[in-house]
Symmetry: C2
Subunit: 379 residues, 2 copies
């Protein structure tokens, strides 16, 4: 509550100012001190202090100079996104994705290892090892050079990085993913549910960048949700938010069955049904309609609960936006008091792994703030 400037507060303030300068420089080629001061709202003197400190610590470097109209050219500074590396991993039913990103969140290297939904725990963890190892090798890094790792998985995850409950993957309940990934890269490992990470990614790099409250719908072989409330990922008291699928009347449990039923005994992928619907096939159109009705029922419960600014539809089926989005809007209109803006994800398959990168970067930034920056040990 108290906002007086004690010694601790002052050092906190310096860290907040440092983070403000870093955020201003991130994603820019380079800025002058004047430009940094303008973007952060800091005074010229404070800006100089902070930039000097960040130069010393290795977060910022000089980047040539701009020739001014008169007088001597202004020095330019840039964020050293290359100062550190984070790892992002997406563990899915059909694939394992691993990426290495710099401190701007730019993906430098990625690897993908196909897996099958019915694989057991050991086989899936071996595939994780292969994806991470391949990705690190491709980036020319050892695990010790990673500052933080983010991991996305299906199922409920506890605060310590363990899978509490997974119904989609066999033998997945109880697996300690944080410990497993820490063997490969001995930095902090943050583990989170895949729908929640996709929500995070949509607010960071996706179509929900300007939304404060957002519902992310994972529409694919599984149906799930991730919530961003007041600009923050809403996890819930036991990290079990967004689990509306547990309520049978809301239709998510059976939603996907309409698509597999349309494929009949011959089998085939859900994508085939969307393709047939696109071609005007009546049975396929009816199956998609039934699927959307069930998807929209659960989505309406989320929307009526939260009244979000935006709903973002992602997951494998978001590629079929052309046959999904209009019927989905119509169904939401039917149930919701106010239908929010409905957007299809532009991140597609990348959403979860990008969310994992964001989670890792959040951890790195927390450590800038509390003074436990990995730079101390890496410079």
């Amino acid at each position: 509550m108290a906002a007086e400037m004690s010694g601790g507060d002052l050092s906190r303030l310096r860290q907040l100012n440092a983070l403000a300068v870093i955020k201003a420089l991130q994603g820019q080629d380079s800025l002058t001190l004047t430009e940094v001061a303008k973007r952060t709202g800091l005074s010229r003197a404070s800006t100089e202090d902070v930039v000097r400190e960040l130069l010393q610590k290795g977060w910022v470097t000089e980047a040539g100079a701009t020739a001014g109209g008169v007088g001597r050219p202004a020095r330019r500074y840039r964020f050293r996104a290359e100062a550190g590396r984070v790892l992002g991993v997406d563990i899915g039913g059909h694939k394992i994705r691993a990426v290495v990103a710099d401190l701007d969140g730019t993906v430098l290297q990625s690897a993908r290892v196909p897996v099958a939904p019915e694989m057991g725990r050991l086989e899936r963890l071996e595939a994780v090892d292969r994806a991470v190892t391949e990705c690190l090798e491709g980036a020319g890094l050892t695990g010790g050079e990673i500052w933080a790792s983010g991991v996305g998985t299906t199922g409920l995850v506890d605060g310590a990085g363990r899978v509490l409950l997974s119904e989609a993957l066999p033998e997945w309940t109880g697996v300690d993913l944080a410990a497993h990934v820490r063997r490969l890269a001995p930095a902090p490992v943050l583990v989170e549910n895949d729908s929640k990470l996709a929500a995070l990614a949509e607010c960071w790099r996706g179509v929900a960048r300007y939304a404060k409250d957002m519902v992310f719908l994972l529409a694919g072989l599984r149906t799930g949700a991730g919530l961003v409330i007041d600009g923050k990922l809403h996890r819930g008291f036991a990290n079990a938010s967004g689990e509306i699928g547990a309520l049978p009347v809301l239709g998510w449990i059976r939603a996907q069955e309409h698509l597999s039923a349309a494929n009949g005994e011959a089998g085939g992928e859900a994508g085939d049904v969307f393709a047939a619907a696109r071609g005007g096939d009546k049975a396929a159109l009816a199956a998609v309609r039934r699927y959307v009705k069930d998807l929209a029922l659960g989505a309406s419960a989320l929307v009526l609960t939260l009244d979000p600014q935006m709903v973002v539809v992602g997951g494998g089926f978001s590629r079929s936006a052309d046959v999904l989005i209009e019927p989905l809007k119509r169904e939401l209109d039917r149930w919701c008091i106010r239908t929010p803006e409905v957007r299809m994800s532009a991140l597609g398959d990348e959403a979860v792994v990008l969310g994992a990168v964001r989670l890792a970067l959040d951890d790195v930034e927390d450590r800038v703030l509390d003074g436990r920056s990995p730079l101390v040990s890496h410079l």
Copy 2:
């Protein structure tokens, strides 16, 4: 983002410190400077500065002295809760409640005017006038002495204090409650949905004081919900959060009908059914069971969406906790991944009007913070 201390920041900091001292003193008889410093975490010197300023402005007054062991007795200070007055109004189907409270939120005077659900707009607004006038007169105040008013009503409310949609009360859609109450007390008027205000009250003075995330269920002739997320009332993009009742499959629309059906053609109140159930009447027990099943279905959708720490049940039916709470917990257990703590409201009938007082006090405190304190014009 920037946290540097500009002139504006310093004055903001002084205001935050002032509010910290006020919060420390509120609800206490009196404190010494040492005690204030300890509770706020401010230094002795800053505490003295802030208390001196608050004395000058009339928020704080001296309150005798404590005889110390040695040396001269320490001066004591207390918050002048009597420095200002706020008004709270609850506009319901069956009653209008108005209260006057001091700046501690202590209710000093209250009035209650019975109304009927079928009354039209003018008749209901006249009842509001009577309740407010009676309450002000009882407190010996004129409308001009009120610093802020909070108003609770059924229905959806916009940001300007107008009822956007009310299905429960006839001719209530479109009424400009802020303008109406401002005629009676020309200070700022904040209008909010009644379930949302009850949620606010439970987190302030009720059973949810220690819950960061909380779902309030209004269980009465209507069923509604209010959400507190991360310690703040969650309103939604268009103030339409918690409206899960709009989804027929979630049962809230029909929930209450089970109770009226149990009373049969003879009529009677829902309370009669609860009383009969308490006495072991089989038909009444079955009706209560059906009611609880429907209440729990919608509540489960809220819980599965948010994974809150606590569910608080309020509204008229919360008086029948003994026959409601155990069946409700069992039904929640059936659907929820993690059943949160379920508590009955201890505020009962007072919850909405107390939430209205809290809303008014929030406005007063905002004006302490931004320097537009009503004290300036009232001292």
